[in-house]
Symmetry: C2
Subunit: 242 residues, 2 copies
Amino acid sequence: MRYELYYWPTIQGRGEFVRLALEEAGADYVDVARMPARKGMGMPALLACLDGGAGGQPAFAPPLLKAGEALIGQTANILLFLGPRLGLAPRAEAGRLWAHQLQLTIADLLGEVHDTHHPVSVNLYYADQKKEARRRAGEFTGQRLAKFLDYFELVLANNPRRGGFLVGARLSYVDLSMFQMIAGLRYAFPNAMARLERDYPGLVGLHERVARRPNIAAYLASKRRLPFNDEDIFRRYPELDH
Amino acid sequence: MRYELYYWPTIQGRGEFVRLALEEAGADYVDVARMPARKGMGMPALLACLDGGAGGQPAFAPPLLKAGEALIGQTANILLFLGPRLGLAPRAEAGRLWAHQLQLTIADLLGEVHDTHHPVSVNLYYADQKKEARRRAGEFTGQRLAKFLDYFELVLANNPRRGGFLVGARLSYVDLSMFQMIAGLRYAFPNAMARLERDYPGLVGLHERVARRPNIAAYLASKRRLPFNDEDIFRRYPELDH
């Protein structure tokens, strides 16, 4: 099965959570919008895919995953689909639902990260909402971030299975997503993270172990891993990092 | 199977999307936090449930659903679980994923509704973020809301099966959730909705058909349906409605 990922070609964004799962599993996939338009890919293919194609199922936003006949939108939904197929989720329904619950909570945290620099509207530039951003980011680094990290550290500590994973005894896509969150938070909020990290040894250790996995390490060192940048969800604006 | 719903007892909130599914299906359920604490229910039971109990699986926030041994958090995840069991989702995986994709997009819209009155932080009162709220709500009623409604109207129009449902040929939990969105938007933004609604005959018709379903009509007329109120996600603040 060759998977096709459709996502913005210049940012990690939400697509990165899917890329990490595909890379860890060594799956055969194409990052379609990053391939040439003259080969029928690139941005035109992404935009056509959003329209839903023959199936008549339009998507509100990327990422999208094509897998044979299936066309799936919403990041967590894509991971719900891929998890068992890539060996990155529990087989039993209870475990799959628990992994998905955690992934949706990671998505909530990611949404709050996004809104630190876009508290008024995605349709306005950051420069046009800097004042509101400063206030929202202060609440985020001062309150909300620790509330989420407390929660995920507790999930790790409560996991009755050894291994230091969030779900069960084996690596899941949730661990890969948590790696991405820690990496992104460190990029965007180096000061806040330097202050907070000592309270989250479990999550910091998880980030390190994921980064050292051979397929992930190779991916991170490759050109396939786009660099963090300030058009992305995680942005390094020093005025928002306290 | 008697389901137990754990949600804040005085608001519709995110729990309402679960209540509507249980009510439409005529399921046996208890809305635990609205029952007396002296019977082992009420708020103490909700708070204990958030901690995760014996399974060691804490939840970040309600709603939670208990179904036998299963304890499931995140609204869309609960509906993913309940859908096939209540006859409110397609049986095949492709249909279930498509329904879930739409439900997650409804959750995105609901999050944007929430942030119209809480653009800075959930930890601050509305009165302490009124200025930012006015600006964010203006972007919401002026831009974002129509973008979402355009999308869902298109999904309805694109559905190749007759019946006027969002997914396939039968009512699903996605239709019930869209009913709740339209009802809530009308409560919170009567002026904006009066201006916009004519462009969405499909969604307006869907809302009407859901409201007339016998089990839903009986529920809406009962005391089990909490009234909209301004501690909830949908709030009627005239200064935010343009």
